[in-house]
């Protein structure tokens, strides 16, 4: 039986071989003729499709992290406040996916942030470069505000897990809606190292709808150069911001010297209640200067960055964060009864509706902020040491024990400062391990120091500013970038 099978197999393969010997060359000849006809257009089609595909670039990164706070429920700029009873947490800090379509002189960008908190638009803009001089690029949509250096420095390559406190406070979310003109000579030019950005934006931040007629202006002039040996690179920039938001109430507070009832003087908020200012723009104005240096030393590359900002910020009694909507206070009565009228004006019934929020009074403060980075690569290894120092002083007119002091001694029309006016400084110390182009592991510790004042004491350890609040945060982050 076995032998029969073997024989039949032999005959079967023999026949197949004979058929192949006769048919294949003929088939190959036919195929060659067909190939001659179809290969070139097919390759052209593939090349054409590839050209289109190459214009679309998809990139992104995900930052998964674990954080440990010094105590539960602390307010924090290291990725947001910790909720009550929580002193450690896992989170996806950023989950970005970016689509960029380059079409010669135009570019279209859409970037989304996908995390456990939901999906948000980060970038959505189109930019056009003039094809003649190649000096001018016009951008419209949602894009990074061109103020300073840290705002536009991508979170995927930034060494510290978060931006500085003053950046997060004054430019929350970094982006805004508007239009921007960039003037920069093309790469072939001798003056390519100079760039000028001029932007007109809503001033409300990110994708928030504007709530007033006032638009904000940002200008930044910067240079970036390297030396001939390509072992030193430096950059310097100056920035200016001018804008503001509509004043909704007639009460407008600013810092002035007042005479205390008990005698003596001090700085306090003094109200301007003339009322003529309702609807006027509350000025928001910053001046900034930034500098960056990179040195390629034999013991590893060193990078130093610094940025200083000063100016005026309109806020409320409880916050100096830039407004994303008309600042309001919680209404004391959340619901009100309202009459329903017919076309003749007669009352036909009553309904209960949510009470309109009460507009907040405006508080104007002078501020300053600063950060300094020292990033040291350990020789040519994958290890990197990070040191960062930053401060944000939301009210430069008052400091120390004067904050919140003499509340009962102030004259009529004056209000004391509060915890909103306290200066914070943060020392960040970290280590980064770059496993490869995709994966980075960062361990980072934020030591947060608040300005202490004996005038604001509280039994709650989170609100007692007589000393330093225990609000340091450790972050362990794993980033995957593609």
């Amino acid at each position: 039986m076995k032998k029969k099978i073997t024989q039949s197999k032999f005959y079967f393969f023999g026949i197949i071989l004979l058929i192949m010997a006769g048919i294949l060359p003929a088939a190959a000849q036919v195929n060659d003729e067909q190939k001659a006809d179809t290969l070139t257009p097919a390759v052209e089609q593939v090349k054409s499709d590839l050209t289109v595909l190459k214009r679309l670039k998809i990139s992104g990164y995900i930052q998964a992290q674990w954080q440990k706070a010094e105590q539960a429920g602390i307010p924090s700029f290291a990725g947001g406040n910790f909720t009550a009873d929580v002193d450690n947490r896992f989170s996806v800090r950023r989950g970005r996916v970016k689509f960029t379509y380059d079409n010669d002189w135009s570019q279209y960008v859409l970037q989304l942030d996908v995390t456990e908190r939901g999906v948000a638009i980060k970038d959505a803009y189109a930019s056009f470069t003039d094809p003649w001089t190649k000096y001018f690029t016009l951008t419209g949509g949602v894009f990074n505000r061109p103020f300073g250096y840290e705002i536009v420095y991508s979170s995927s390559i930034r060494e510290s897990p978060e931006r500085s406190r003053f950046v997060q406070t004054l430019f929350p979310g970094e982006r805004d809606l508007g239009a921007k003109l960039t003037i920069q000579p093309p790469k072939t030019s001798k003056y390519n190292f100079i760039s000028l950005d001029l932007a007109l934006i809503n001033g409300t931040g990110n994708t928030a709808v504007d709530f007033d007629k006032y638009k904000d202006f940002i200008g930044r002039l910067a240079i970036v150069k390297s030396n001939k040996k390509e072992n030193i690179k430096y950059g310097v920039g100056v920035s200016y911001y001018y804008g503001g938001w509509k004043q909704a109430t007639k009460f407008n507070y600013s810092m002035k010297d007042v005479t205390l009832k008990e005698g003596g003087t001090m700085k306090a908020f003094v109200v301007d209640s003339a009322g003529s200012a309702i609807g006027d723009m509350l000025k928001r104005e910053y001046f900034g200067v930034d500098a960056q240096f990179a040195f390629d030393f034999p013991f590893g590359m060193t990078q130093i960055r610094g940025e200083f900002i000063m100016g005026t910020q309109p806020g409320t009694s409880s916050t100096t964060t830039s407004a994303t909507a008309q600042p309001t206070q919680n209404p004391s009565v959340p619901y009100a009864t309202t009459a329903i009228y017919d076309t003749t004006g007669a009352i036909t019934g009553y309904t209960t509706v949510a009470n309109a929020a009460v507009s907040s009074d405006a508080y104007r403060r002078k501020l300053d902020g600063f950060y300094f980075y020292l990033v040291q690569n350990i020789f040519q290894t994958r290890h990197q040491f990070i040191f960062k120092y930053d401060w944000y002083d939301p009210n430069t007119d008052v400091s120390g024990n004067d904050i919140g002091a003499n509340a009962k001694s102030l004259p009529k029309g004056a209000k004391p400062t509060s915890s909103t006016d306290i200066k914070y400084s943060t020392i960040g110390i970290g280590w980064a391990f770059r496993w490869n182009s995709n994966v980075k592991l960062t361990a980072y510790y934020d030591i947060v120091k608040n300005e202490s004042t004996s005038a604001i004491t509280n039994k709650s350890p989170l609100k007692d500013f007589a000393g330093d609040i225990k609000d340091n945060v450790f972050t362990l982050r794993l980033q995957y970038k593609f």
Partner: protein, 276 residues
């Protein structure tokens, strides 16, 4: 007898292993200036070391260095030094690299052989390539429009020429940007009023290399291996190989070969300047 058998066994295993150690499989990408040299070196190396496979492509120094960062090449060949920005990007990717000078090159300014101009000063070259001078009669030639050819901005040769010949000034907007050195040679050979700049190794009978003066016309020097070697020709530059230290073992036998006497002999034969 036992010892002899052991010794023979060791030799039997060790010899193939030693041969195997010279086997190199790698990709080289980047500078068009380096291209003919790398191709020749790779060809000779592969003949001497069977089993090796070295593929060489051009594209420009910038393209090669970007490929090194993205991991799509093993060696980036470059006619300029790696920029600090590129070093920072490599550092951010956790990649350490090695820089090796493999040869020197003289940058030749070439015209069509029919052009009667034989020499130019640096200032005249600057005026021609920035568009200030547009007719050959302004520099001692016939009444003929000048057509300037340049490499694209991703080319290291472009950057070198801009910095050392144009004194960092912009190329004229009328200058025609070519994707490869070979394209410049071809265009100059076919266009009567053309002028371009190429690596020394690309000079052939279809183009004429000009003598150049860097002392405002006192002395003119022709581009050649000898003048580059004795440093009388003013437009010379080093040529580099860059590779990641993580793959050093893989590429080092080939890099060592280029730096060896045999490799440097090829450097000379191919029209480049040896490093020693």
């Amino acid at each position: 007898m036992k010892k002899i058998i052991i010794a023979l066994s060791v030799i039997a295993f060790a010899v193939p292993a030693l041969v195997q150690a010279q086997r190199v499989v790698c990709k080289i990408k980047g500078s068009d200036t380096c291209l003919p040299l790398s191709q020749k070196e790779a060809e000779v190396y592969m003949q001497k070391n069977p089993g090796s496979s070295i593929s060489v492509v051009g594209g420009g120094s910038g393209v090669g260095l970007a490929a090194l960062l993205s991991g799509t090449t093993d060696i980036a060949q470059s006619s300029r030094k790696m920029k600090l920005d590129e070093k920072i990007k490599l550092q951010d990717a956790g990649k350490a690299f090695k820089e090796v000078i493999i040869a020197y090159d003289a940058l030749a300014v070439v015209v069509n052989p029919a052009n009667k101009v034989n020499q130019l000063t640096r200032e005249q070259l600057e005026d021609i390539f920035t568009g200030k001078v547009t007719n050959w009669k302004e520099v001692g030639g016939d009444d003929m429009k000048i057509i300037a050819y340049s490499r694209e901005s991703s080319s290291g040769t472009f950057e070198f020429f801009k910095e050392h010949v144009l004194n960092k000034k912009n190329f004229a907007t009328t200058a025609l940007l070519m994707p490869a050195t070979g394209a410049i040679v071809q265009s100059v050979s076919q266009t009567a009023g053309a002028i371009g700049y190429i690596g020394l190794a690309y000079i052939n009978k279809d183009v004429k290399a000009l003598k150049v003066s860097y002392d405002q016309g006192k002395t003119y020097v022709a581009p050649a291996v000898e003048t580059a070697k004795n440093k009388t020709y003013p437009i010379t530059r080093p040529l580099y190989y860059y590779y990641l230290t993580s793959i050093e073992k893989t590429v080092k036998p080939y890099v060592d070969f280029i730096l060896s006497a045999d490799g440097q002999k090829i450097v000379h034969e191919e029209g480049y300047v040896p490093i020693k």
